[in-house]
């Protein structure tokens, strides 16, 4: 008998004695609904409170101007239409190895208004390291990618990827941070110290 069989047998024997099931909760929610008209304002508020920097662009031309303004040093570019449209024709110092980059530029799968989060995957984020190894991360997103809650973002991921899920999906809520020393907030613990978002209408 393998350890797997032994453990599963022990579990089966254990749960054969049921424990009293807790009453299912009445219909409810953890977060209050956010009206469609407040989505953007809520996201802006949450993202700023997390110390993210948001720029809004009326179109791709303005987005390119904003990228040119925000870009510094060597840049690693992720895949996707948004990144391509926002960097086309710009003279960026692009590097092949993410480890050499001062800035990573990626798209994303969704933005979450309630928590100011950016949801990306190994596909929209250009792999696993590009959005976390460089000291700064710039995200290009379209206004339609904004959803109210985390649950809605999971629905977007499901619609886009299931059942061929990417091997990395991550919900990014503000720049990298720690408070392990006396509960003092410090940004840029291991991931990016700066998080920029260009939101294209």
């Amino acid at each position: 008998m393998t350890s797997r069989d032994r453990i599963l047998a022990r579990i089966r024997a254990a749960v054969a004695t049921p424990s009293p099931a807790p009453a299912p909760p009445p219909p409810g929610a953890l977060f209050a609904p956010i009206p469609e008209t407040d989505l953007l304002a809520r996201f802006e508020r949450e993202f700023a409170a997390l110390r993210g920097t948001l720029h809004r662009a009326a179109g791709w031309e303005e987005a390119r101007r904003l990228v040119a303004g925000a870009a510094r040093g060597r840049v690693a570019l992720g895949p996707g239409d948004e990144v391509a449209s926002a960097t086309r024709g710009l003279a960026l110092d692009a590097v092949g190895d993410v480890a050499d980059a001062d800035l990573g530029i990626t798209g994303c799968d969704a933005l979450v208004a309630a928590t100011g989060s950016i949801v990306l995957t190994a596909r929209s984020g250009g792999g696993r390291a590009l959005s976390v190894l460089p000291p700064a991360h710039l995200v290009i997103a379209r206004r339609e990618q904004l959803v109210p809650h985390l649950a809605d973002a999971f629905s977007v991921l499901r619609a886009r990827h299931a059942p061929a899920w990417p091997t990395l999906m991550t919900v990014i809520t503000g720049p990298s941070r720690t408070a392990d020393i006396e509960k003092v907030l410090v940004l840029g613990a291991h991931g990016p110290r700066e998080l920029f978002l260009i939101l294209v209408d």
Partner: protein, 438 residues
Amino acid sequence: MKAADPRLRRVIGKAVASWGEQTARTRARFLDFAWGRAALRARKADALARLPGLLEEFERQAAARGTRVHWAQDAAEARAIVLEVARRSGARTAVKSKSMVTEEIGLNAFLEEHGIRPVETDLGEFIVQLRGEPPSHIVTPAMHLTREDIGRTFHERLGVPEGGSPEELTAAARAALRTGFRASDLGITGANFLVAETGMIAITENEGNARLVTALPRVHVALAGIEKVIATLDELALFLPMLAVSGTGQQLTAYNTLIGGPRAADEADGPEECHVVLLDNGRTRLLADADARETLHCIRCGACLNACPVFRAVGGHAYGTTYQGPIGSVITPHLRASEGFGHLPSASTLCGACNEVCPVGIDLQRQLLRGRRSRARAGGLERLLLRLWAFAAGSERRWRAALALARWLPLRPRASRRDLPQVAPESFRTWWRKRERP
């Protein structure tokens, strides 16, 4: 272990006060925390009732995506699995993100004995590893230390100037660890959740070190208790904010990452191999006790530690366990049944503060009482002494005789964890009688 230290008490007091403020502020922004708690309690109970099926589903889905799933009955088996993976990877060092299960099984010391250097990359874990200490808190491992303590450690071990601010100390740790992520062939993580539906592991963190540990090394091995499995991806939309608000007072931590196997053919990077070790190590004992089963709902947020007046007074090290505070006191006697941690449920005031903050609705107060009861049933010296006390206190004559006797007895037990107060040389009544007669 020193349990009464005024300086420690101040350091912990400050940290838990800050946690309390942030948690209260964020909880107030949630529509209904109590609803969230009831919902999570129902989901965890359901997941445990269906545990065999969910674990098999997790294994099937993970394997379909190229993850190798291992099962470990105890700590020794889990350590051996990780060592085997490490040896085959050829790794000399392993970068680790925070994992209480690896603490539980003593993985670091074991890897070192076998010539593989484990490097903790979570800032708090990195600090306590440099000091050769165990974590004092399951979420905030260096909670017992001041910036001065950490500055001295970094000065001695990393050669940075003493007196650094938290920003400077964090930057020093970042710089010291940066190259390790790429230089290591092995990344070791825990898992906050196992998603049965998709065969993915979920990792909650703030620093980004877990993302680097799962991105850069060639091999990734994750360790998780069998109770971590949940049914569907969508449930995370509830679990993640409830974990974040309870653990650190955030709505969501900076990174909540789902890892579903090694790098896929169309992906830019990621490990070539991905392993998940599912650990029993006493958990099926808790599961078999239908009354104690709810303690497996725990998502290791650490809120009950912060809320506990006993934890606040003595700190995490005084428990001598991997899991401290109320949850540690109820699960450790089961997880380490042969090692005699049965006294831990007594380290509680039964004030109920832990119940109030638990995001998954574990009735910790009741579990602590159950722990005490089972210890009392087991008998022993405590029971004999309480019987004697009850007999003596049963009549005034016997009580006075007992006190008179106590004045003559050397009531200073050897190796006691605390001082027993001396019986006064004369009783209050005697003193009062003398005082009344001039």
